[in-house]
């Protein structure tokens, strides 16, 4: 009978488990630990990689010691699943005793970690997720990415001013997509524009063709598009294949669809697409040129807006730590972050002291060729835009 031996095998396995659990690392007093939680696997992995790359780059450029503290980044993968984010955040806060958590590829992940940041009294730096409400969920959340209303309202106003009357919308069916859609509709309709067709696409969607055919049949002047970073390439390919460019239907929208790291692969169909966004790899500043060159040299491709969110996020932590003189207390850090202003690769940005959300320029850009490569070329700037989702209240 085998029950006896099984019992013992259980014991052995149990012992292994206990051993592994007990491997909790000791904490060094003179280090500053950042728990970085990103989607490194799964459908959002490209977001995670860009941010991770940007942080590595920043630390290479600026060293890893600030105000006598050695900066240590611990990377955890959450595959964009909120329950994993939560477990990872707790592990980091309680066992690793991190001084800040950062990253967060999607909105549910950022929200799941919010109560832990509040409880643990440590800053939570949101580097990617773009739904408006996030920063309201904990007084320790600071955002360095963007919010979708920031760019969507502006493209709405721009469309009305530039003679676009009828628009069909195609947005991904999740919180950021809905944020983008509502704020665009509000501003576009207020200016007298008309929405002729509205399609919400499932987030995990392989083939855009049938949706695009619907767009084409609705015969709008332009189509407003929001798909998350990474899906834009696929979308534009099929946009061209379906001949929507020839039918005179322009693409407008927040800049996610024209993400820099995919833009060049989209082909000439992308030419002329007008989007409003916070960052373009072609932003004509020295800071950006240096950033793009360094990023390309280190990782072989162009940085997108996700990378900039990560780059600015780690910069914010560095600067806050400098300002507190190495004090790692969460409240002091967040207080130091509030109102901080600096020149980012995307342009001048600051942290709103009231909402802890990012205030930044939003640029209207048109896809054009620069040195034979496709870039979003900025031609109009809206300065220091706050999150419209919160200004309203």
């Amino acid at each position: 009978m085998f029950v006896q031996a099984r019992k013992l095998s259980r014991w052995m396995l149990g012992a292994i488990a206990v051993g592994t659990l007990a491997l909790a690392p000791a904490r060094a007093e003179d280090s500053f630990k950042i728990g970085l939680i990103l989607p490194m696997t799964g459908g959002q992995a490209s977001t995670g990689k860009q941010i991770d790359n940007a942080i590595k780059l920043y630390m290479q450029q600026h060293g890893d010691t600030i105000a006598g503290k050695k900066i240590e980044v611990i990377l955890k993968d959450d595959a964009a699943l909120p329950d994993k984010t939560k477990t990872a955040a707790q592990e980091l806060i309680v066992s690793e005793k991190v001084n800040a958590i950062a990253g967060f590829g999607v909105t549910p992940a950022a929200l799941a970690a919010a109560p832990l940041a509040t409880q643990g009294k440590i800053p939570e730096i949101v580097m990617a997720a773009g739904t408006s409400i996030i920063t309201e969920k904990s007084p320790y959340i600071v955002r360095t990415s963007f919010t979708l209303p920031q760019s969507s309202t502006i493209i709405g106003d721009w469309a009305v001013k530039n003679g676009i009357k009828k628009v069909a919308t195609l947005t991904s069916d999740y919180a950021p997509g809905n944020d983008a859609l509502t704020s665009f509709k509000e501003h576009f309709a207020a200016g007298g524009g008309e929405i002729v067709e509205e399609v919400k696409v499932p987030l995990a969607n392989p083939d855009f063709a049938p949706f695009l055919q619907r767009m084409k049949d609705a015969k709008p002047d332009a189509m407003f598009v929001f798909v998350p970073a990474g899906q834009g390439g696929n979308f534009m390919k099929q946009y061209a294949e379906r001949g929507l460019d020839k039918a005179g239907i322009k693409v407008i929208g927040p800049g996610d669809v024209m993400d820099d790291d995919l833009l060049n692969g989209m082909g000439d169909a992308a030419l002329g697409a007008v989007t409003a966004h916070i960052y373009s790899a072609a932003h004509p500043s020295q800071a950006n040129k240096d950033f793009v060159a360094a990023y390309k040299k280190a990782f072989g491709n162009r940085p997108g807006f996700m990378a900039v969110g990560g780059y600015d996020g780690i910069h914010l932590i560095y600067e806050a730590l400098k300002k507190t003189g190495g004090k790692t207390d969460g409240d002091a850090l967040v207080a130091a972050m509030k109102g901080m202003k600096w020149e980012s690769p995307r342009g001048p940005i600051s942290i709103d002291p009231d909402t802890r959300d990012i205030v930044q320029n939003v640029y209207i850009r048109k896809v054009g060729k620069v040195d034979g490569e496709l870039y979003n070329v900025e031609f109009e700037t809206f300065e220091a835009v706050k999150d419209p989702g919160k200004v309203k209240k």
């Binding site: 392989p206 049938p210 390919k237 995919l262």
Partner: protein, 289 residues
């Protein structure tokens, strides 16, 4: 009216693509009775080989397509000899676990080698855009897919029905023991068929990059589609999966166009109903061994 025809055409192209991707699985799953959930990994291999050749080495698209086929077939035959053949006689559970393991490995490996962003293959300009036939928009690239896949299907059908190899394969599948008694080298036939199926998947992967997008999660995302094609189509002939692919393609496109919100729901329901109603597939033999 033209919208209906355009959708029909899109659906056919999509279905044909699914057929090329999945028909290798029809052989392994349907004929050799091996649950190979990793079939999409071979398709992905072909897609990436094609993408690298075209984008980085500047090969013309049409020259890279055969290479996509060959590379997937080679990977297929190596894995078949090394791993798969030991599992033909194992339980379905073992086969499922093994192939899921392979899928996980392939996903992470491709992610490691090429990064996780979507990859596109630069097409020759003659394949871009649409032209009108009597007011119906016909995508050039989709037309190419229909032509290539149509030719392939016809050839396959001929090979299976008319050639010596075809009859050997059918004999090996119907009764491996009797077939080897008649001097047919059954393992060889299986290995060759497996490799050929992988090659087709590779070709399909290369062709599908433009339409479905190619990223490391390809094998997981489309696994269910391949399985539907095979289980619904049955395995008695090439025509079963072919018709099933067309149905699936047209159904998927039409579903998204007319009822955008219901999307995959319709397809999964249909699949379950068909499986319950005819467990051997819509066009399958009435009795499976």
């Amino acid at each position: 009216m033209t919208a209906v025809l355009t959708n029909l055409f899109d659906g056919i192209a999509y279905g044909m693509l699914l057929f090329v991707l999945a028909c290798g699985l029809a052989v392994t799953l349907g004929l050799m009775n091996f649950v190979n959930l990793a079939h999409g990994a071979f398709a992905m291999t072909g897609g990436y080989v094609c993408a690298v050749l075209v984008n980085q080495f500047g090969w013309p698209f049409f020259a890279a397509l055969p290479l996509a086929f060959i590379s997937s077939a080679v990977v297929g035959i190596v894995l078949e000899r090394l791993l798969y053949r030991h599992l033909y006689t194992r339980s379905h559970l073992d086969q499922v676990l093994f192939s899921i393991g392979l899928v996980f490995m392939s996903v992470a490996a491709v992610d490691y080698i090429t990064g996780s962003q979507r990859v596109f293959i630069k097409l020759p300009s003659m394949l871009e855009g649409q032209f009108d036939v009597l007011g119906v928009g016909v995508g050039r690239y989709r037309l190419l897919i229909v032509v290539i896949c149509g030719l392939l299907t016809a050839t396959l059908q001929l090979v299976l029905a008319r050639t010596r190899f075809g009859s050997r394969l059918r004999a090996a599948v119907d009764d491996p023991r009797a077939a080897s008694g008649l001097g047919i080298n059954v393992p060889q036939v299986f290995a060759f068929t497996f490799a050929f199926g992988c090659g087709l998947a590779g070709l399909g992967g290369a062709l599908s990059a433009e339409i479905l997008g190619l990223d490391p999660y390809f094998p997981l995302k489309f696994m269910i589609y391949f399985l539907i094609v095979v289980t619904v189509g049955g395995s008695s002939s090439i025509t079963g999966p072919f018709l099933a692919s067309l149905l699936l393609g047209i159904g998927d496109v039409a579903g998204k166009y007319y009822v955008p919100k219901m999307g995959p729901f319709v397809i999964y329901t249909l699949m379950i109903v068909i499986l319950i109603w005819r467990p051997n597939g819509l066009f399958g033999r009435t009795a499976m061994r």
